[in-house]
């Protein structure tokens, strides 16, 4: 039983990391209708920035956490101002390609600045655990879950109460009509890229914390987040979190139980598993668990 609970806890922790990455995708998608392939790059950049704040410049960790988030937002805004704003109104395809170009750039800039070797983040959480009722929970995971909760709450408040919330969605649906309502598309995009950058930086930091290390392959988590965002629904923050948790838990569970009970599924099945779950869910609900159906009326 504790085995199972332990697995569940690790699954939730993994899921929380996925969720955080996925939330970054969701903002951009909601505002621009674009899947941001550079999101993983932003995460990596966030992790390295955290390293700089804490290790190189000696900022206390929790302050570094805040600064990293802000710096992440700055990176998002910078990318928007330098490149993306030229693409307001271009078809999503082009912007997606652009984010791929950005990813290629970030992938090269990071090792050029920090080197290719993994670096220690030096977070106070480390491998510390708490063990309520015999279940080991990593402190860093608790923090990750906490950060996810805060970000999610922030998202809800933002989309519910801020004018920007509606403005973002309106912009994504019909840019021209949104501009005609006085919605400043440039600002909407800048805000959403900043938020995406902020969330990504936090995601990068949590991925590097807890002994993971600041390393280039943090970027790969973004790949795993693809099924997560689709599963929850591309435009749904709640869905991102639900999808993240679902996939996290399913992956950890299948890692343990598939080799024991379903060997016929072949070696390395847990890696494929998120995609299998995703495909099954999509066949039942083509817009994910919480995604909004595209309106099509004639």
């Amino acid at each position: 039983m504790t085995d199972f609970l332990n697995l569940l806890v690790s699954g939730v922790a993994l899921g929380a990391q996925y969720s955080l990455v996925a939330l970054g995708f969701v903002v951009i998608y909601r505002a621009t209708g674009v899947i941001n392939f550079a999101q993983g790059g932003f995460c990596v950049l966030g992790a390295y920035l955290a390293y700089n704040f804490h290790n190189t410049w000696g900022v206390p960790f929790y302050l570094a956490l805040v600064l990293t988030a802000l710096a992440g937002a700055g990176v998002g805004a910078l990318v928007d101002v330098t490149v993306l704003r030229r693409f307001v109104g271009q078809p999503p395809f082009v912007v997606i390609m652009l984010t791929i170009g950005l990813l290629i750039l970030i992938e090269q800039i990071v090792p050029s600045v920090w080197g290719a070797d993994p670096l220690p983040l030096g977070d106070p959480w480390g491998l510390r655990t708490v063990s309520p009722g015999g279940v080991d929970i990593k402190v860093s995971d608790l923090w990750t879950v906490g950060i996810v909760a805060v970000v999610l709450a922030g998202f809800f408040a933002f989309f519910r109460f801020s004018r920007m919330g509606v403005a973002m969605r309106a912009t994504a649906v019909d840019l021209e009509a949104a501009m005609a309502q006085g919605i400043p598309a440039h600002r909407v995009y800048r805000v959403s890229w900043s938020i995406a950058g902020l969330v990504a930086a936090l995601a990068g930091l949590t991925l590097a914390a807890g002994g993971g290390g600041v390393r280039l392959d943090i970027e790969l988590v973004a790949l795993t987040a693809f099924p997560v965002i689709i599963l929850g629904g591309l435009d749904s923050p709640g869905g991102a979190v639900a999808g993240g948790l679902l996939i996290g838990v399913a992956q950890v569970m299948s890692g343990k139980y598939q080799p024991e009970h379903a060997t016929w599924l072949g070696q390395g099945f847990p890696i494929v598993m998120p995609y299998v779950v995703m495909i099954i869910v999509l066949l039942v609900r083509p817009y994910g668990l919480f995604g909004q159906r595209k309106v099509r009326r004639i």
Binding site: Y29, G33, I35, F37, V83, R86, F87, Q90, P91, P92, F93, V94, I96, M97, L98, I100, G101, L102, L103, I104, L105, E107, Q108, I109, P111, S112, V113, L220, L223, F226, P227, I229, I230, L234, G266, Q267, G268, F269, I271, V272, Y275, V276, M278, I279, L282, L283, P286, Y287, G288, G291, K294, R296, I298
Partner: protein
């Protein structure tokens, strides 16, 4: 502004010419001459790059039929390329079928597998479909790794299938007492196939099935209402596109001699698929010529950058400098993608049209 030539059009047939003006005819003749002479004048290394460009061009034409013309976004192209490569290994290498049999058979197998995926596209749309198709890459990798009898598992399998058309063996070409290298021969072969595929694709898109695909892209419900079956054209576009991907895969096998899941599955597969998307976007979405041009650029540019940066000194770049030459090459590549899009978001073909329009209206343009 209408082109002066079109003013003289009097019968509908005249609008249907593939090469409406003498300029086009001259251009095609020029291409043929280039095709014939390039292998004589380029090094084997570049011929290899160009053969890969040609392989990519076939795949990109396929993807453009699906994405550019039918509006279905797929990132599973690498998967279908893999299907082609493995099928070619099976039919061409292990069963030793001749080129003129195994290549079309590869198309058929790819098309069948693609058609199986088509129904997913009817249910799941747009970006959701794109990511669903990534799932296919991972599941594909899983299959390729585990189904060892067909794929050779992780180490992969030999794919040097026969490349002879009748007495002409392009892998070992001897013509008029002159021997040509494998890479020369393969250049001729691959680009011959590119030309044929491009012509067939061009014909498809300008006739009934092609129009139907575009109708589905522009407005699927309306298409259905005017009598264009969404299901039929979406599925057949998938079949067509994956069939061509498979042909590309088969030829890739001939060029590469060996394939393994490391070429196509999971993350490398995603990278490859993304490259194909890059080809059609950078070349020009919804045009056959754009797909070919995009393929050449996307495949060859990294090599060109490599050659250039190897021979010029760049500040801050190189051994002992902050930026390694290799990182720099990739940065340039990324920057080129971005700059191209900034300059011409609709791709090279659109840029070309713009240049043409400029010259046509030249005395008037300001």
């Amino acid at each position: 502004m209408a082109r002066p030539g079109t003013l003289l059009v009097t019968r509908p047939e005249q609008r249907l010419r593939l090469l409406p003006t003498n300029w086009y005819k001259a251009f095609v003749i020029l291409l043929a001459v280039v095709w014939l002479t390039v292998p004589i004048n380029l090094s084997d290394a570049w011929l290899d790059v160009l053969a890969r460009c040609g392989v990519a061009a076939i795949g990109a034409i396929g993807l453009n039929l699906l994405t550019g013309y039918t509006g279905q976004i797929s990132l599973a192209h690498a998967f279908f390329i893999a299907i082609g490569a493995y099928t070619a290994a099976w039919l061409g290498v292990r069963s030793d079928l001749p080129f003129l049999l195994w290549l079309p058979a590869t198309f058929v197998v790819g098309a069948l597998v693609g058609a199986l995926f088509g129904p997913f596209a009817l249910r799941v749309r747009g970006d959701y479909l794109a990511i669903l198709s990534i799932g296919l890459l991972y599941i594909g990798q899983h299959i390729f790794v585990n189904w060892t009898s067909f794929t050779g598992g992780r180490p992969g399998t030999s794919t040097g299938a026969p490349a002879a058309i009748g007495p002409l063996d392009f892998a070992d070409l001897n013509l008029f007492d002159q021997a040509y290298s494998r890479r020369q021969g393969l250049f001729w072969l691959v680009w011959l196939v590119v030309a044929i595929v491009a012509l067939l694709a061009r014909n498809i898109v300008r006739t009934r099935p092609g129009r139907a695909m575009q109708a589905v892209r522009d407005r699927d419900v309306a298409a259905e209402v005017v009598g264009v079956s969404n299901a039929r054209y979406t599925i057949s576009a998938f079949a067509l596109s994956s069939g061509l991907a498979a042909v590309a895969g088969g030829l890739y096998g001939v060029v590469a001699l060996t394939v393994s899941p490391a070429d196509f599955g999971g993350a490398p597969g995603l990278l490859l698929s993304v490259q194909y998307v890059a080809m059609i976007i950078i070349g020009g979405i919804g045009t056959i010529g754009g797909a070919v041009a995009g393929a050449v650029v996307v495949v060859a540019i990294p090599r060109v950058i490599e050659q250039i940066s190897n021979s010029v000194a760049i500040p801050f770049v190189g051994p002992g400098e902050p930026i390694s030459l290799f990182a720099f090459n990739n940065m340039i590549y990324g920057a080129l993608v971005i700059v191209t899009l900034v300059f011409e978001p609709r791709g090279m073909v659109a840029g070309w049209e713009r240049v043409k329009a400029y010259w046509r209206t030249w005395p008037l343009a300001d």
